[in-house]
Symmetry: C2
Subunit: 189 residues, 2 copies
């Protein structure tokens, strides 16, 4: 496989792909690359939103940003298209072994997911419990029903087990999250 754009510079060898220890973000980037190269879907992570305060121009070609700050994102990190459907999701890791703290997702992002679902898009979150090495996909409507009915500030692992779908790491793609969307396809047809 060929990964353009220097996306995976940290990667020393393709041989390690099946091994553990990659971040959820890296795994998702590789999976999205796989979906793209195999004409399955076109899904990208959005760049990190920043506010640029100062740029140096040592010469015409090499602009260097010398002062910038991170902004709170108003949308989720990932979006794109799959079988003509708009896809939108947020991906997070937690070190907790028992629950996923909702503080990990900005309120803006929840509001964004609500808008997406309202407009007919497919929204979800992917959560990795890194100490357990388990990854779950939870559809946005199940996320909303938890938030709207529970007062708790974190979603217990048991809720992911009951309502979510566990994703096992595979070789190609690493995280085949679109398979989960297939399973719940009826909801959208």
């Amino acid at each position: 496989m060929n990964y353009p754009n220097g996306l995976f510079k940290r990667q020393k060898s393709d041989i390690n792909y099946a091994n553990r220890g990659m971040s959820l973000e890296e795994d998702l980037n590789i999976s999205n690359q796989y979906y793209l190269e195999n004409d399955i879907a076109v899904i990208y992570k959005k760049p990190t939103p920043i506010t640029i305060n100062h740029v140096d121009f040592p010469n015409r070609r090499d602009a260097v940003i010398t002062n910038a700050k991170f902004k709170i994102p108003s949308t989720t990190d990932y979006n794109g298209i799959y079988k003509g459907k708009y896809i939108d999701f947020e991906a997070k890791e937690t070190t907790s072994k028992t629950s996923f703290p909702l503080a990990n997702i900005h309120e803006h992002q929840i509001r964004h997911l609500r808008q997406i679902v309202k407009h007919g898009g497919i929204g979800f979150i992917i959560v990795k419990f890194s100490k357990l090495d388990r990854i779950f996909l939870l559809m946005a409507y199940d996320l909303f029903s938890f938030i709207d009915s529970e007062k708790r500030k974190s979603i217990p692992l048991s809720y992911f087990k009951a309502k979510g779908q566990e994703i096992k790491i595979t070789l190609r793609p690493r995280i085949d999250y679109l398979k989960c969307i297939e399973k719940i396809g009826d909801v959208y047809d």
Copy 2:
């Protein structure tokens, strides 16, 4: 109207909205905000892609990026959802009075638009001839047919007049580009 997120800090007064002189990007941001607030569509400009080389942490809350570079974008700048459809476009201004230089759009972005259309999304470009103060929307398939059949490195204004749709600046939203999508709706239904 209320514009959250400090998006329009440069704006001193709402009264100036109908005036000329705003950049295409500013006009589109305001239009997208209008679409969002009025529950018409959820479309955002993606953040500028950068490679972060160094971040200072003077304290926990105030991370400052002190060295970063601009990256060539692999996708278009704008995407989102409208009536359940995936929308994707690039917006560019040109100072030319006669044609739009294709060098303004990265090859990656053209490839991206081809993928989007192939997967059932609605792709287009919005081009502003700033010296003429005229804005056109050109559907991606008309862009491709120009690129694939012509050897020219710029698209003449006459092509936009013949194949594109001109968008007149209005008050709310400033640039009602979704109206153009309505007109060609049959193509997608």
